[in-house]
């Protein structure tokens, strides 16, 4: 049985997290109001629970579920099995953080009445150009 490990993140916005996961190729992500159990690769129910879950069939063959559990401070903690950390490692979490930052900033700008134009993301750098719809 693959052991689950927890990794703290700076991610707090659920909808931006789901969009960031989609950017990384996970188009089917389960979002639960109440944290729900994760499952292992053999379909075994685990003790770990999460609100945002990529079910194992979408992660890959022989994979376990990947979860994101809301913490008391509002941030999400990633729950990833030892087996899946081969691919979903620190580098993957960096990419997720970068896509999250992009999605979060885009959302904030749109909420403030800006149309987001040119956006560049490369090597940990974000470049934004946005214009207010109010002039």
């Amino acid at each position: 049985m693959s052991h689950f490990t927890k990794c703290r993140t700076k991610i707090s916005d659920q909808s931006a997290l789901v969009k960031a996961l989609s950017d990384l190729g996970y188009k089917t992500v389960e979002v639960n109001e109440t944290a729900t159990n994760l499952y292992g690769y053999q379909g075994d129910k685990r003790d770990q629970v999460a609100e945002v879950i990529i079910r194992r069939k979408h992660v890959g063959g022989s994979s376990n579920d990947i979860g994101f559990k809301r913490q008391e401070d509002g941030t999400f903690e990633a729950i990833i099995s030892e087996y899946d950390q081969g691919r979903h490692n620190a580098k993957w979490l960096k990419s997720l953080n970068q896509r999250y930052a992009y999605q979060k900033v885009t959302k904030e700008l749109e909420e403030m009445g800006y149309e987001v134009g040119q956006v560049t993301t490369e090597n940990g750098k974000l470049k934004f150009d946005a214009v207010s719809v109010y002039g």
Binding site: K94, Q98, M112, Y114, E122, K125, K127, D129, G135
Partner: protein, 116 residues
């Protein structure tokens, strides 16, 4: 008799609002989570979470629609800088002009983008 005017805003973050007012040289007298008071304008949080501004006769002369546009722009700037800082980014050059905002931010953790 003094007449009060209310102005709806898109502002919901109190900390960024206070910073934006500071950027426009508008001194804040008191600030709580749901209320920010200056001498010529006050902001109160409504049920939907956004702040509504209230202006008296003197405030209407100073805080025109142009001023509110500038406040919106400064608020956006401060809100983004705070958000990006929380996410581990350092914000570099920021340009705000004629309703346009352009900026660069670098992750303090570095990192390559990876798409699956």
């Amino acid at each position: 008799m003094s007449h009060k005017t209310t102005v709806k805003t898109l502002i919901s973050d109190r900390i960024a609002l206070v910073s934006a007012l500071g950027s426009l040289d508008t001194k804040v007298k008191t600030a709580t989570e749901d209320s920010v008071k200056c001498s010529t304008v006050s902001f109160k949080r409504k049920k939907d979470g956004v702040f509504q501004a209230t202006l008296g006769d003197r405030g209407r002369k100073t805080h025109t629609s142009k001023w509110f546009k500038k406040l919106n722009q400064q608020y956006t700037y401060h809100k983004l800088v705070n958000e990006l800082d929380d996410m581990g980014y350092e914000v570099g050059q920021v340009t705000t002009k004629n309703g346009r905002i352009s900026f660069e931010a670098n992750s303090i953790y570095g990192g390559q983008s990876e798409a699956r």
